[in-house]
Symmetry: C2
Subunit: 400 residues, 2 copies
């Protein structure tokens, strides 16, 4: 075993490691004595809809599973039981046991495309947090001072800006930290934005004399398709892990060459050595960026779908974009009577609202029967139309 | 019923009332419809050793019991179950159920000299706080913001001075407030230093939709025998409710005339009308301050002992002080061989240490056989001695 290369692969793309020595010792110990180690990562109990941004942490966990890691996939269902007596947070809804289990199932469907099912244990923190009881929670809060908690960046900022911080927000990091006490984890994974909470687990493991002090591995936040903002649903710059193969493939092809390298680093399972080669080939011009992007898109699309579907997605993409042909299949709609184009685009699901449709027309992004439309007020009378928004959204409409 | 006089008696000596209208309505309602109301007062679960300072609140509760109040005597045993995992607070000792019940018994012995046993319910808050569970505690903490909690005077001060505040200290006022939710109390009693916590109960009763919003009645902190500092054991300016009749009586006789009026207001059960009369008589010279003090000392000594013991205490006091005679009974001690006076005073329990004995000699407060002693180094050889420190401490010593 080439431990040096393994460690290099594990450290690739990682934003920060606390206790690097421990991490290396765990890997070494696995190869020398065959002893496994435990990786903890926490997830929200609400219905998951993961995107590639979330997969960055999962990818690293999958890699660690290959080198001795057993994963505690921790669903934080405890907080799902908590109501808000003050009534200020009307959006917070208590989750039933059934909902939690249903959401866990949805997680499984999504994460086992990345993680090794045999080396993953789904855990629910209500198991130990409920039995902690009221006294145990108060006891837990005696481990930390108000001032130290206010050192967490977002608390510092909000406190300074006099934006209210509910006391229960002080409890969540402690409860999350206590999960590490209960699980006796060796490593906790998370995003860089979670640093304070991840270190809390390490601190509490020491305070509660568990005999462990977990290492912490923080992954960077993945940039979205725009290459600037972090990937998020609300910014609509994301690729969902359940998206159709065609969309997934096409979205990856749309990113910049620079972002492609970042995605290779954080999303591809290619070894660090292979990646160095790709970079070199790109630099020397022996590999075309488009080709590198296609390879990445194929790898990722295959992961969440299949080789066949990824290849089909590529063929479809090439057909539409390279030859500027119409796609072989389009959804078909029909309406009764003359209809305003903007409204028709909404009816066919190509736009979310007539105002967004009008903006697209204004941006010269809408075609009817392959002709760009400039008239926002265009009406479609009886007949058949091919509607197109941008490069990839098509529909067939019959006006009766 | 003269409601006006009753209300005046109830308000006498009170430092502050929140929701005076509700308080008056509760009394009125009792006299009009015979409906009782519930008074909550919280007490520490550790071994009680109450002094007259504590009795100020109890006295007011006893008065309210005469006018429709039923008392929840709340022992905060929940916090007694809480350890300190951080190990910072080594002095905090978990209390067992047996210790809590034993302490409750000690409370009963002390408080039922003031409170009406038939109208008092001893409660333990572990009853409802334990069943609140971990989730319930977190839920409770969502009702209050960090900034609002820091408005409590002592927190403000400590936060400003960067003296650590443990997060669990933020939980205690909330848990105390939740007691009011569970008990559905109509009035909560406490010292002025408890204002923040007392109001918390009122706030939480509203947030948890209990249909109640307790009034709050705050009693002032009683000055100690020195008339300046608040009464406390550590300042040794207190009268314990379990002190011997002689000591209790003598200590009250030792206070200033000004403090006597304060004690009348807060410790005497005389009506406000009677009290006005006493003040007037003192002013006009028809009542001697010494006589007024004797009456107060008799009233209080009777309350905690009996009429007979109070009268005996008075006789004893008069004997020692007025006639400067020796007390009729003294504890007797004997030692072998010549002894240093300072050491003898310690042996006989008149002083705690030889250094304090030397200070007393220096302050001209020590007599041997009714002769003041000036020589710190005085030795007592074979013989019998009457030792005296101050006006009231005597012992008989035989040196063999």
């Amino acid at each position: 075993m080439d431990l040096k290369n393994i460690i290099a692969d594990i450290k690739r793309g990682v934003a920060e490691i606390i206790d690097e020595e421990k991490l290396e010792a765990l890997i070494k110990n696995y190869y020398e004595k065959g002893e496994n180690f435990y990786i903890k990562a926490g997830f929200d109990p609400t219905a998951p809809d993961l995107h590639l941004g979330h997969s960055v942490v999962l990818n690293k966990m999958a890699l660690l599973q290959k080198h001795g890691g057993l994963v505690y996939f921790l669903i934080g269902d405890f907080t799902g039981q908590i109501g808000d007596p003050s009534g200020k947070n009307a959006t917070r809804k208590k989750l039933s046991k059934e909902e939690v289990l249903k959401n866990a199932k949805t997680y499984e469907e999504q994460v086992f495309k990345i993680l090794d099912k045999e080396k993953t244990f789904i855990k629910f923190n209500s198991e130990w947090l409920n039995s902690l009881g009221a006294a145990g929670v108060v006891e837990l809060t005696s481990t930390f001072s108000v001032a130290r908690m206010l050192e967490r960046d977002d608390f510092t900022k909000r406190f300074r800006e006099q934006s209210p911080i509910s006391i229960c927000e002080f409890l969540y990091p402690l409860l999350q930290g206590y999960d590490s006490v209960a699980l006796k984890s060796d490593i906790e994974m998370g995003g860089t934005d979670q640093k304070f909470n991840l270190l809390m687990g390490r601190t509490l493991q020491r305070i509660y004399n568990t005999g462990k002090e977990q290492a912490v591995m923080m992954m960077p936040l993945l940039e979205g398709l725009d290459g600037v903002n972090k990937m998020s649903k609300s910014l609509n710059n994301y690729i969902g892990v359940t998206e159709k193969a065609n969309d997934m493939y096409a979205k990856i092809l749309s990113i910049s060459d620079e972002l492609m390298l970042r995605y290779y680093e954080l999303l591809s399972f290619k070894s660090t050595k292979e990646l160095e080669q790709i970079k070199q080939d790109l630099k020397q011009g022996t590999l075309h960026p488009k080709k590198a992007k296609e390879n990445l898109a194929l790898e990722i699309t295959q992961r969440f779908h299949s080789v066949a579907l990824a290849n089909e997605a590529k063929a479809e993409f090439d057909k539409v974009h390279s030859a500027n042909e119409l796609p072989s299949q389009m959804e078909e709609f029909s309406v009764n009577g003359t209809i305003w184009l903007a409204k028709a685009l909404v009816e066919c699901g190509l736009e979310n609202s007539t105002s967004s449709a009008r903006r697209s027309i204004g941006a010269n992004a809408v075609s009817v029967n392959s002709q760009k439309v400039k008239d926002e007020q265009m009406q479609l009378t009886q007949g058949e139309y091919i509607l197109q928004v941008g490069k990839r959204k098509f529909a067939k409409l019959r006006v009766i």
